[in-house]
């Protein structure tokens, strides 16, 4: 859709030959997100120059799309006047986002250059917990009164609508700012000029509270197909709106976080290549250590069966296969349940239905895997590879273990995320790595138990 490489070459060419007017003409028609990406690619040296070529309003839009470190670099290079100009063009929620990412010295400069009202609003926004609806809402929205006519409403939109992030959805409030109704700009356009707002508004408004989790807000907006969601404070007063573009970002972030947690990584909100090796290391090492320690149990189990394994060494060869298959089955179940939980498709009350389903799936999977494995062990391992120490009864032990291990894996895999959710933990943490560690130990216990009883070791 947009070829950065091609544009980047042109930009660099024009920079070299100092054709600034042509450069400006090249950038002007682009989307702010694309200009930001180009600026990032152009590097620290050219960025301030390119940025200053942009007209004020576009510059502010591009500024919002830049990475935090580029924003910091630009702010450090700004004169006081330039900083003020950028701040004036930005929406409050964006300024608050930027302030959150900047080091203290930059924050002081920003707050110093902000208007007193802006400073007050930023402080309020920063007070909301990190993952709350309050932290992502925009405090500039267009509100109407119920006794306005459609004509009055249009006048109000024409007067203040230019400064708002969106006017597609309009909220009706009473004098104490309580939310009374909602209407779209289309409702206004299709109404008569002298209709009263209260007659055309929809009085059934879905709203969220400032302290609601931003992920739930995004989910609700996706479910209801809303373009914006009103946010009310503890007293039910309308204090802001969450717009759909921010909801999309939240959904994307949350999916990334879930995926990272499932792979035993502490989530970070920086893009991959912007994270230093040390930061990545810090996000990964605690889980690796924890999981390594838990794998000790598997080692202990093996140690306690050392003599049996020494008596029939061929048993050792199937340990990796049993562990891997158990782990894979467990992660299939856990990941499916974790995702269903985060999409609100299941909750704890469904636990028996989930277990019943997973056990039937486990039976089917276990049988097919056991049959395939028995055939493979007899045909390939015994006949083709000539491993005569592999008696059919040993193959039976491996295959019976397989059936049991699959059942245990599916059971553990589907219950742990549900239990985690129930006790208030994040279910995503109960994904493959944890399940694998538990399933490994259980599979080995089953394996050695079958071996002891059936092979008399």
């Amino acid at each position: 859709m947009f070829d950065y490489e091609e544009y980047l070459e042109k930009v660099e060419e024009l920079l070299r030959s100092k054709q600034y007017a042509a450069l400006r003409d090249l950038l002007l028609p682009m989307e702010p997100a694309d200009i930001a990406a180009l600026l990032e690619e152009a590097g620290e040296e050219s960025m301030p120059l390119l940025y200053r070529l942009l007209p004020k309003e576009l510059a502010a839009e591009v500024f919002v799309e830049l990475e935090a470190d580029s924003q910091e670099m630009l702010i450090n290079g700004f004169s006081n006047n330039e900083l003020k100009e950028v701040l004036d063009e930005l929406y409050l929620d964006d300024v608050a986002d930027i302030v959150e990412e900047m080091p203290a010295t930059v924050v002081i400069r920003i707050l110093d250059k902000a208007t007193p009202e802006m400073r007050k609003s930023i402080n309020e926004l920063l007070k909301y917990p990190e993952d709350s609806a309050g932290s992502i809402m925009n405090m500039e929205f267009l509100s109407l009164k119920k006794d306005m006519t459609v004509e009055d409403a249009f006048k109000r939109i024409r007067r203040v609508g230019g400064d708002m992030e969106t006017i597609n959805t309009l909220y009706v409030t009473d004098p104490t700012r309580h939310l009374l109704g909602v209407l779209s700009v289309r409702d206004l356009l299709l109404a008569e000029g002298d209709d009263l707002i209260e007659d055309i508004m929809d009085a059934n408004v879905v709203s969220v509270s400032t302290l609601d989790d931003k992920e739930d807000v995004a989910q609700a907006m996706s479910k209801y197909d809303f373009l914006s969601m009103p946010v009310v404070d503890q007293e039910g007063r309308l204090v802001g709106i969450v717009t759909v573009d921010d909801a999309m970002d939240v959904m994307e972030e949350e999916a990334t976080e879930d995926i990272e947690k499932m792979a035993a990584i502490t989530p970070t909100d920086k893009p991959y290549l912007k994270t230093s090796a040390f930061e990545t290391f810090k996000a990964r090492i605690p889980w690796l250590l924890l999981l390594m320690v838990s794998a000790t149990f598997t080692g202990l189990i093996i140690t306690s069966f050392e003599t049996s394994l020494a008596a029939l060494p061929v048993l050792t060869a199937y340990i990796p296969m049993l562990m891997d298959t158990g782990g894979n089955c467990g992660s299939q179940a856990s990941v499916t349940v974790i995702r269903a939980l985060s999409l609100d498709e299941v909750d704890f009350s469904d636990i028996f239905q989930v277990i019943w389903k997973e056990l039937r799936v486990a039976l089917l999977c276990g049988l097919v895997l056991a049959i395939a494995n028995f055939g493979k062990m007899m045909l390939v391992d015994r006949m083709m590879l000539g491993n005569t120490s592999l008696a059919p009864i040993t193959a039976a032990v491996v295959c019976m273990t397989l059936v049991c291990a699959v059942a245990v894996a599916k059971f553990v895999g589907c219950t742990l995320p549900l239990l985690a959710k129930k006790i208030g933990l994040d279910p995503a943490v109960m994904a493959s790595p944890f399940i694998t560690t538990i399933v490994d130990a259980l599979s080995l216990l089953i394996y050695f138990q079958f071996a002891k009883n059936m092979l008399g070791l």
Copy 2:
């Protein structure tokens, strides 16, 4: 935000006492998505009755939100007239979605009751490939001509805007339907009545083609903060728009698909509890079989070192820990890279930067893990558990293997997804299960090599 349990009880109570008017009053103020969820919960018997209580327009909105099997059930119960009424209220893209999910007999009935224009449009929509922008676009959108005045545009909106899914973004086309520009309804409201559309429109329009991947379209809409994205055909003519609510659904589906593929599951688009055990089995078993077969190599490696293991049985006890840690490291790297790929944060040209970063992370992780493990082996396994056969040199073999296995795991984990993407495969398939299988075999080879050389086995 919305308590289904509570409402469901009320609904059942009112159904029992046949208070249909009260029931209708209870449902009317709700959001369509919530009514649909209630209908699903109420079960097959009450659903048609509840559905028929809804006024025509709301009924259609609720219909779209229902699961495919409920839709089918309702359609089968509809009279021809009822079916026609629902179809008349639905947007074309929704009808096309429904048609795709229904069995042939229902499809024939739907096409039979659709107006000829609707039938033609549905057929056109169904012709687009499943994951294309064309398949999710809406063909009803509001277009303006460049020589209209703002006043003309408002007249047009008032005339046809009621039937459109959205009027927030308006597209300007020439007589051959080529896309000339874009403007928002706010631009119209802030302009003067006699301004010409071509003077206030933005002529730099980002558009996608009908055959573009719907995931890329959703990504682009999120990046550019668009409420709708114009879709043009091969000849550059505007044929539809993708609205942001559909883009959000695509993003959610794609995240689910990625997560499923990462856990070695063939993606299905049905909710977890709506999928039968057999369907779930079918989605999981091919990967389990494939991975079980690949685990054979690990077995072969162990078999070929059977005599070494018999000579020093303590080595066996560390196999699970080495395999698990390798697997976890590999899945951390692969999942991070897969997600970065799907968010467009990295591409194949970054491969050396990615490898360089992962190797540094691997070195840090490997050293910390090796030191921790050496301490644990000496203090816990040897001293506390009295495993005197565990010489420091053996612990050194395990720890050196750990460092190498971590490095190999991170290397394989980060390169395979990039290579998969390069040759046109889905990188998500190269996640934990595959990486684990490969890393297991490599770790064991390293382990036995160290054991052979350092312990003289």
